[in-house]
């Protein structure tokens, strides 16, 4: 394993963020603040759907650089 692939593997830790974000409902199970009429319990995970797509795309893009293989 060369240093460049090792460095890239570090980006995979980003994939833990969605678990931290929505894994435990106690973090967001509340009414306020509301957004566009949605209680926090409903808008907050929806925001995380978008963030998860972005995070996963970043990980995908970063690992597509040089280096013959990656996993």
């Amino acid at each position: 394993m060369n240093p460049s692939t090792t460095g890239k593997k570090g980006w995979l830790w980003l994939l833990l963020l969605p678990f931290i974000g929505v894994g435990w409902p106690g973090l967001y199970a509340s009414m306020n603040p509301e957004l566009l009429g949605f209680p926090k319990f409903y808008w907050y995970p929806i925001v995380w759907i978008v963030l998860t797509g972005i995070i996963t795309w970043i990980v995908y893009s970063v690992t597509s650089g040089a280096g013959g293989t990656e996993d």
């Binding site: 974000g21 894994g23 435990w24 409902p25 009429g37 996963t56 795309w57 990980v59």
Partner: protein, 511 residues
């Protein structure tokens, strides 16, 4: 109830369109459909977009459209676990599924059980994985029928005797024939029709129904006032945190272990295609979040029904003009056909590769192999129809609940094995058996009322997803027995895969 002709005609036309696409799809990127790799995996050639539609059709089924809002309608916040569930599934998918794709491509594996057999040289473990997959898939197919039945009912298509069942039988017969003829290409292309209908329906529902009902603020307020009477709540109670979290994370792991999801993944043309899809599929989860909220719209619209599968169809019928209700009903029905088709193909692949070829006809030719799979796909669907028509609905729902719990027990044998061969094959098999028995026992002890089980740990009671409790015990048993069997120097078989088989390779430029 009289027949709603406007809705029914629109519904029928769109259903016909999907049927034409299904039959025509066999010609698309033509391959030799006498090979299981072509019939059952579409030649492993699907690019990013087709894979997106196929997996979208796979993960978000008609049953989801019916069951998730029904749960939100009845219980409130707890039903919204479906959203974090369909969030955390994608990081897991990004890590695990490209590895499964790579090792399967390299070694010509068609099913997850093929992989387990190759990795551990264990027919027993492969059989356990195959049987679990088939058992978990069957009730799932049956439940897709419930979606079709629900929309037919609200359109007033409900004769007596054989006339009552005929429309459902015709719909599934059509599906069975085009799946038989075109293989996995059929759901891949009908999924495009399905998704167009679903996305249009949802966007219209978000804006049209919510404004008709006085906006989301008002919808949530009505739900908040009504839910306590149903023993539900708009905001999750802290007492249910663990239940919600284990359901979300446990379901996410379970989903990726289902044979139909593996089939959809293996049909992609590269591991990178699967990774790209893990980033793009969350778009469906946004649709799902709003589909879940249809449950609250139904509360605000004053829908009353004891049959929970009718909540969404009744809402559409009440709030949409008849022609657009027909459009939305077609979205649900075609949304049932796509996953039912993939599921029957996945079950057929498992039976053919891991039971028929393994135990009955070791030397069967590739053509015989694909013929067996095609016939099994017909049998599986016929079985699902009989199941739904002959038995009370609760049987299918209970078995589907068990199915998710069962499939999760294959996690150590499949997912862990993609990363390590540390576990002993016999330890995995015994862990699986313990998980299956305990998980089933927990569901039975709770009378199938929910997927939750109060786990007693000393004085504390942990209310969580029974499947998660079962798989934790399953893993513990596998770890301990691995130590024991290694100490006894019991053979752990040969591994026919190598480290490099699992690597997700960079694609040649231009693709």
């Amino acid at each position: 109830m009289t027949i709603n002709w406007t809705a029914f005609v629109v519904f029928l036309l769109l259903f016909l369109l999907a049927t034409v696409v299904g039959f025509g799809s066999g010609r698309w990127r033509r391959g030799d459909l006498n090979l299981l790799d072509e019939w059952g995996l579409g030649g492993r050639r699907f690019g990013t977009l087709i894979t997106w539609f196929l997996l979208g059709g796979d993960l978000y089924t008609a049953y989801t459209f019916i069951a998730v809002p029904a749960l939100v309608f009845g219980a409130g916040a707890m039903g919204f676990f479906a959203v974090p569930y369909t969030i955390v599934v994608f990081p897991i998918m990004y890590l695990v599924m490209p590895r499964l794709w790579a090792v399967s491509k390299k070694n010509n594996y068609v099913t997850p059980a093929d992989f387990v057999r190759g990795r551990y040289q264990s027919r027993g473990l492969a059989l356990a994985v195959a049987v679990t997959g088939i058992l978990a898939t069957m009730p799932y197919i049956a439940l897709q029928l419930v979606g079709i039945q629900a929309v037919l009912t609200v359109m007033g298509i409900s004769g007596t005797g054989i006339l009552h069942d005929l429309p459902l039988i015709i719909a599934f017969a059509v599906l069975a024939i085009y799946t038989y003829v075109s293989g996995l290409r059929a759901p891949a292309l009908t999924a495009i029709v399905k998704d167009l209908l679903v996305y249009i329906t949802i966007i219209v529902a978000i804006f049209f129904i919510s404004s008709k009902l006085g906006g989301f603020g008002h919808i949530f307020a009505v739900a908040n006032a009504t839910l306590p009477a149903k023993k539900g709540a708009l905001i999750l109670s802290p007492k249910l945190d663990l239940a919600f979290a284990t359901l979300a994370v446990g379901s996410a792991f379970a989903l990726l272990l289902y044979p139909h999801v593996v089939t959809g993944t293996l049909a992609a043309k590269s591991g990178r295609t699967v990774q790209r899809n893990a980033a793009l599929l969350p778009l469906y989860s946004i649709a799902l979040a709003f589909i879940a909220l249809l449950g609250y719209m139904a509360i605000a619209a004053g829908i009353h029904t004891k049959v929970t599968s009718l909540v969404v169809p009744l809402l559409f019928l009440k709030e949409f003009p008849a022609w657009f209700a027909g459009f939305a009903f077609a979205a649900i029905a075609i949304g049932a056909l796509v996953p039912a088709s993939i599921m029957s193909i996945a079950a057929a692949n498992l039976f053919t590769r891991n039971i028929y070829k393994e135990y009955f006809d070791k030397n069967c030719t590739p053509k015989q192999e694909s013929n067996v799979a095609k016939i099994v796909s017909l049998v599986v669907k016929a079985g699902a129809v009989v199941f739904v028509l002959a038995l009370p609905l609760t049987y299918a729902i209970n078995l589907q609940l068990l199915g998710g719990l069962w499939i999760l027990q294959t996690m150590p044998s499949i997912m862990f094995a993609l990363y390590t061969r540390w576990f002993h094959r016999t330890a995995l098999l015994i862990g699986w058996l313990v998980g299956m028995v305990l998980g089933t026992g927990m569901a039975v002890a709770e009378h199938f009322k929910s997927s939750l089980y109060p786990f007693h740990l000393g004085a504390t009671v942990l209310l969580g997803y029974a499947g998660v409790w079962a798989v934790v015990i399953n893993i513990l048993v596998a770890v301990v027995l691995t130590w024991v069997f290694n100490a006894m120097k019991l053979s752990n078989g040969e591994d026919e895969t190598t480290q490099s088989d699992y690597q997700v390779r960079r694609e040649a430029s231009g693709s």
